[in-house]
Amino acid sequence: MKGQRLGWAPYALLLPSLVFLAVFFAAPMVQAFGLAFQNDAGNWSLESWRTMFADAQFREALVTTLILIVILIPVQFVLAMAMALVINARLKWSGLWLYIYAIPLGISELAAGIIWFAIFTQQGWLNSILEGLGILDRPYIFLNYQNPAWLISAVVLAEAWRATSIIMIILVAGLQGIPRDFFEAADVFGATSWQKVRRVILPMLRPSVQVALILRTILAFQAFAVVIALAGGGLTVLSSEAYRWYSDYRDSHVAAAYAGFILMLSVVSTILFLWLLPVREEQQG
């Protein structure tokens, strides 16, 4: 296509999605920022931000969100990489594995939360199994308000189960774009499996890794339904604070400030990943 004159055609093709983005994403976002920087009287002010930072729950929500991300991202990334490598090895049945791995993608966030709630609750599957095996003599209350470690673990498990396949699919797509000759060259020149992953696959997969990390981190900052379903009010994250301020306190200004804060964190983390994993043109095939 190089050098060919395309005229207005590309812009016409882009137009529908641009309109869609403008109406359903850009406009509400501008409005939300407007709300966050105004007070009830409609004057420009930083009042809602001050309220947010001063709120007792803010610190807790931020810390919990960050803990979730710090645990989730590496765990999910390693899992997704392993799954992607299994699929790319083209062993028998590896096509089937792709479908099995992808099942959670078809389940909504809230439904996933409820499935895991059904596992961890007092009369849930986990307790039934442990009792059946004689390991417990009466149900253990995993999802206990007094025990945030269990709550966080349950949320991590549920989130990992739900969203690892998104990362995996991005990585599989990336892996399949790498000609097999490179992996075979690594084999011939003496790389062990681990060296092959470390020295050839990961560097060549860098663009996909970057996309997957950015996407997953942004989604993790927005984690909401799974947390609510599993922990109720026992665990709070940034987006559940936004929800609480909006629905319980009817304060859309502070809720908007939370939303703006999440957006800023997402932007910062994206920039961080772009900076930590630069994809340089001359290093791509």
Partner: protein
């Protein structure tokens, strides 16, 4: 010392494609062996089984008296130049060439010395800090060669290393590669579908067809005495001429009739005294005459192609076509008659059914 011995190697894909079929081949230490054959005949598959990238259905591979059939590539002491080069795009030329040495935990100073040495051999010295995307196709090919030879392997494998280069580069690299491998004295297997490359590089050539080796010998043997019609037609440009004839006996002597003309033949034709036979003769072994001559075959000129060094003349004997190499001063004109005198000791005889050579010596 790395002699390669293949015994009964067979590879079947998808339960039915016999990509490599019962191949037996022994490659001597330090020998340059070319696997030659048309596309899809199983050359790459055979080489990949020697490398350990493909596992044979049955048969054994041994390198230097060590059975390596069940070993992974990295434990076979081999290096390979891939057809696609497979030069790592995220590594500089230096790091690409050093890749295999680093995997072996060789000391830094020695890596530097060996990488620089190999780069010098393939004239990549000034480009060590570049990334592959900043190199031309020819330079990338050199990186692939340097990465392979720097390992000082027991066996060097090359899969059509020149096929992605343009014609002029290919000609230059061919000579360069020959010099390089000659200096290294490594046992080498070289895959190509280009018969000129095979002739120019190989100590021996194994000609493959449909998964089997149909003939293995020095380039001159294969050129001069093709084991069957396929080899004669595949090697040489133009390919060997084949004419069908009839064995006849007249006053105690064997003759072969081409239409209504007679060709004198060796005393025996592998014991045959009657029936059809296929005559093979190369274009340069036929002398063309502009006037009738004793024992020459009458033919008609069809096409004349001046190729600078000689004329390539397509002629018809009866309704059979053949190509003749004539001197540039030969007065060839389309439709003009001409007379052909094949060199008797260059005539080859083939069974018309099986296509196999009949030993008439």
């Amino acid at each position: 010392m790395a002699e390669i011995r293949l015994q009964g190697i067979t590879k079947i894909f998808d339960k039915k494609v016999r990509a490599v079929d019962e191949v037996d081949l022994t490659i001597a230490d330090r020998e340059f062996m070319v696997l030659l054959g048309p596309s899809g005949c199983g050359k790459t598959t055979l080489m990949r089984m020697i490398a350990g990238l493909e596992y044979p259905e049955h048969g054994r591979v041994s390198i230097g008296n060590r059975d390596v059939t069940d070993l992974p590539p990295r434990r076979r002491d081999i290096s390979m130049v891939f057809q696609s080069y497979a030069v790592f795009p995220h590594l500089t030329v230096f790091d690409n060439v050093a890749f295999g040495l680093r995997m072996k935990n060789i000391a830094k100073a020695e890596i530097k010395r060996r990488v620089e040495g190999a780069a010098e051999l393939v004239q990549l010295g000034p480009y060590l800090e570049r990334y592959p995307a900043q190199l031309s196709g020819g330079q990338r090919q050199r990186v692939a060669v340097a990465r392979a030879i720097v390992m000082e392997p027991a066996v060097l494998l090359m899969d059509e290393p020149l096929s992605n280069l343009d014609a002029l580069l290919r000609l230059n690299f061919r000579a360069e590669l020959k010099r390089l491998v000659g200096e290294l004295k490594t046992t080498t297997i070289y895959v190509t579908h280009d018969q000129v490359e095979a002739m120019s590089l190989g100590d021996r050539i194994a000609v493959m067809r449909e998964g089997r080796i149909v003939q293995c010998g020095t380039p001159m043997e294969i050129y001069d005495r093709p084991a069957n019609r396929f080899v004669g037609g595949f090697i040489g440009s133009p390919p060997m001429n084949f004419l069908s004839g009839r064995i006849e006996r007249s006053n105690g002597h064997l003759q072969v009739g081409l239409g209504d003309q007679m060709l004198t033949v060796p005393a025996t034709l592998g014991g045959r005294t009657a029936g059809e036979v296929l005559v093979g003769i190369r274009a340069e072994n036929i002398e063309a005459e502009a006037a009738p001559a004793e024992g020459a075959i009458a033919a008609r000129t069809e096409v004349v192609e001046p190729l600078g060094s000689h004329l390539l003349v397509t002629a018809a004997v009866g309704d059979q076509k053949l190509k003749i190499q004539a001197r540039t001063d030969f007065p060839a004109r389309p439709d003009a008659p001409l007379w052909l005198r094949p060199e008797p000791d260059k005539l080859r005889w083939f069974d018309p059914e099986s296509g196999q050579e009949i030993d008439a010596r």
